[in-house]
Amino acid sequence: MNANASHISVQAVHKVFQSGGQDVYALKAIDLEIARGEFVCLLGPSGCGKSTLLNAVAGFSLPSSGSIAVEGAAVAAPGPDRGMVFQEYALFPWMTVEQNIAFGLQVKGEAKPAIQARVDALLELLHLQDFRKRYPKDLSGGMRQRVAIARVLALDSPIMLMDEPFGALDALTRRTLQDELLRLWTELRKTILFVTHSIEEALYLADRTVVMTYRPGTIKRDLKVDLPRPRDVASPGFNALKKELSQLLMEEQNRHEQDEFRGAAVD
C-alpha cells in the first residue's frame, strides 16, 4: 500500500434524502482526505450534515453516491477498525464498566487472560480502576464517556470517530476530557475524526478544522490549525482563528434560522 495515501478518503460524496417530495442534500460533493494520525474536526451548525458524514465513514448509512475508502478499501459496513464514540455514551447499561470495555474483545474471540490484561491496562489509562465493577447508571457523564472511549480503544482500531462526545458535559469536565483525549491521541497515534459545534473545542483539539455549510452540506472551509500544543485558548493566535471561524459559522447559522422561519411560515 502506498504510505502516502490518505487514511480516510472521501470522494464526491452525496447523501440525498426525501423530505416532502423534495430531494434534500444532506451532503453534496464532499471531498475530504485525512492523513494517518491526523486529528480532524468537523464543525458546523446543527443540520449541516457533519454527523451524516461521520455516520457514512462509520458505515452506518452509506452515501447515495461517491466513495469512502479507509486504507484504500471501500467502506461497506460498520466495523471495529473504525471505533465510534457517541454523544449519548451508549454504554450497555446491563454491563459493568469492565464488561463494557471487554465486550469488543470478547466479540473478537480473544482469550480470557488477554482480555483481562487489556481491560486492566485501559482502566488504568483512563483512570477508571476504582469504577470497574460499577454500572453505567452509577457514573457521572464524564466517567461514562471515559468508559466509552476505553471501549473503543480496546479494539485498538486505528481510527476513532467521535460524534460530539463531550457535548453533554459541563465545561470543566469537558476540558479535562479534551486534554485526556489529546494525551491518548499523542500516545496512541490514532486518526481521529471528531464532530463538534463548538469552535473553541475544534481549535483546541484539531490539526485541521473542516467547516461545513447548512443544506446542502458542503465543505465551506478546510482550515489548518497551526498552533503549538498545548494550546492557550487566551492567546491572540487562538482568538484570531476563533473570530474567523465564528464569522463563517454565523453565516451558516443565519441560513439555518431563515430556513426554519420559512418552514414555519409555510406551515
Partner: protein, 272 residues
C-alpha cells in the same frame, strides 16, 4: 425511627378493621354463620393448618409431618399447579415473543391470531379445557399456562421492539455478529420488560389457579373454600381466603425480589 413509625402506621388500619369486625360479631349484629368472629376464624385456621394426626416416626420425616395438615397440602397443591402452568406458559411465550419482537415477518404471521385470542379470558377456556383434558391437574395447568402466556408474550414483544437502536449500532460498530447482538444486547436490554410480563403473568396464573380448582380439581385452596361453602363453614372460607392472599403476596414478593436482584443495573435508571 422513621421506618418503625411507618411500620406502625401500616398496621393501624388492619387493626381497626379487625376491631370493627370483632364488634360486629360480639354485639350479635350479624349472624355468626354469615360472618364468624375473628377469633373463630383464627381457631379454624389453626385447625386447618396443623397436622391431622400425632407425629409418628414410622410415617416419615418430621418436616413431612409438619406439612401433612389439610391447609399445607392444599397450598402446596395450588403452588405446584401455579408453578407448572407458569413454567409452561412462559416457556412457550418467551421464544415466540423474542421471535415476534425481532422479526417483522414472524410478527406479521402471528400477531393477528394473537390479537384475537388475547382478549379471551382464561376462564372462558374452562369448558374446552374440561372437554379436552377431563378433570384434575391437566385442565388446571392448561388454564394457568394460558393466563401466564399472554402477559409474558406481549411484554417480551414490546421489550425486544423497544431496544434502543443505539445499542445495536454500538454492537455493529464493535463487530458483533447477529447472534451476539441478540444474546448480549437485545436479550438483556429487553429483560426489564420480560420481568414485568412475568410478574403480571404470575399474578394472572394465581387468579386462574383458584378458579380452576373451584371447577376442575378436588383439592387446593380454591377447591377448599368452595367445599367449605357447601357446609356453610364461613370461618373456613375466610381462613382459606386469607391463605390465598398471603400466598399470593409471598409469590409476588419473591418475583419482585428476584427481578430487582437480576436487574441491579436497571434500578433507578429512569432518574438518570
Amino acid at each position: 425511627m422513621k421506618r418503625y413509625r411507618h411500620a406502625a402506621s401500616g398496621i393501624l388500619v388492619p387493626l381497626a378493621a379487625i376491631a370493627f369486625w370483632q364488634l360486629l360479631s360480639a354485639k350479635g349484629w350479624v349472624n355468626a354463620t354469615i360472618l364468624p368472629s375473628p377469633m373463630q376464624v383464627l381457631t379454624k385456621w389453626w385447625a386447618y393448618l396443623r397436622p391431622l394426626e400425632a407425629y409418628d416416626p414410622s410415617m416419615g420425616s418430621y418436616l413431612k409431618w409438619c406439612f401433612s395438615g389439610e391447609l399445607p397440602q392444599d397450598a402446596m397443591g395450588s403452588l405446584y399447579r401455579v408453578l407448572l402452568g407458569f413454567a409452561i406458559g412462559t416457556g412457550l411465550a418467551l421464544p415466540l415473543g423474542l421471535a415476534m419482537g425481532y422479526s417483522k415477518v414472524v410478527y406479521a404471521l402471528f400477531n393477528p391470531l394473537i390479537q384475537v385470542l388475547r382478549p379471551i379470558p382464561p376462564i372462558a377456556y374452562i369448558p374446552l379445557s374440561i372437554l379436552w383434558f377431563g378433570l384434575g391437574n391437566p385442565p388446571a395447568v392448561f388454564l394457568i399456562s394460558i393466563g401466564a402466556f399472554f402477559p409474558v408474550l406481549m411484554n417480551t414483544v414490546t421489550g425486544v421492539q423497544n431496544v434502543d437502536s443505539i445499542y445495536l449500532r454500538v454492537g455493529r460498530n464493535l463487530g458483533a455478529s447477529r447472534y451476539t447482538q441478540f444474546t448480549r444486547i437485545i436479550l438483556p436490554a429487553a429483560t426489564p420488560y420480560i420481568f414485568t410480563g412475568a410478574r403480571i403473568g404470575m399474578g394472572t396464573a394465581f387468579i386462574v389457579v383458584i378458579v380452576s380448582e373451584m371447577i376442575a380439581v378436588n383439592n387446593g385452596l380454591g377447591y377448599r373454600i368452595l367445599e367449605a361453602r357447601e357446609y356453610l363453614w364461613s370461618d373456613k372460607i375466610i381462613a382459606g381466603m386469607f391463605t390465598i392472599g398471603l400466598l399470593g403476596l409471598g409469590i409476588d414478593t419473591v418475583m419482585s425480589r428476584l427481578s430487582s436482584r437480576m436487574l441491579r443495573w436497571h434500578r433507578g435508571l429512569e432518574q438518570g
